[in-house]
Amino acid sequence: SAVISQKPSRDICQRGTSLTIQCQVDSQVTMMFWYRQQPGQSLTLIATANQGSEATYESGFVIDKFPISRPNLTFSTLTVSNMSPEDSSIYLCSVPTAANTGELFFGEGSRLTVL
């Protein structure tokens, strides 16, 4: 199993500001996934972060709004830019447990509230 640490665990942010969420994994992984869970909603995949290449974004998500870094095989960051109240969500980092089966380990998430 993988241990995933996310920072911050929660934050309250002002409209128009940006916040960077960090995800640290205790083992090397090729792919890391960033999900969003809006209040009362299910999880939606934002993007896939591969080390050494640009992140791949899902429909409805763009790099300007959610820039992602992946400097090495154990670390990734997601920035939520120019935040609005609609960005209030839990953001979760996850890593696969086995190749191409979809089974994932999840971090505990970063709960952002935008005022």
Binding site: M31, F33, Q41, S42, L43, T44, L45, T48, L92, S94, P96, A99, N100, T101, G102, E103, L104, F105, F106, G107, E108, G109
Partner: protein
Amino acid sequence: AQSVTQPDIHITVSEGASLELRCNYSYGATPYLFWYVQSPGQGLQLLLKYFSGDTLVQGIKGFEAEFKRSQSSFNLRKPSVHWSDAAEYFCAESDSWGKLQFGAGTQVVVTP
């Protein structure tokens, strides 16, 4: 397109009673299916998974799920719920690229 349906948004069950959560999937002849649980203030935890083989899958915390290809279903069951089972439960399916598609979730409330 891939989709996962959880028809029940909210279920209330008495402690000690049985629980069944419904899930229908739409993708693939050989789907990879999962049930995750999210307790208040905690991250997602995998309860069980189905890749192939025996259609009745045993998971952690006394949960099981049955894969029924004819009904495109993967329902989660527990014979006797405990107060600690109160949580949000998500059914999910993986596509061939390893991405998870989640259902909308079912909130389970356990009453004394």
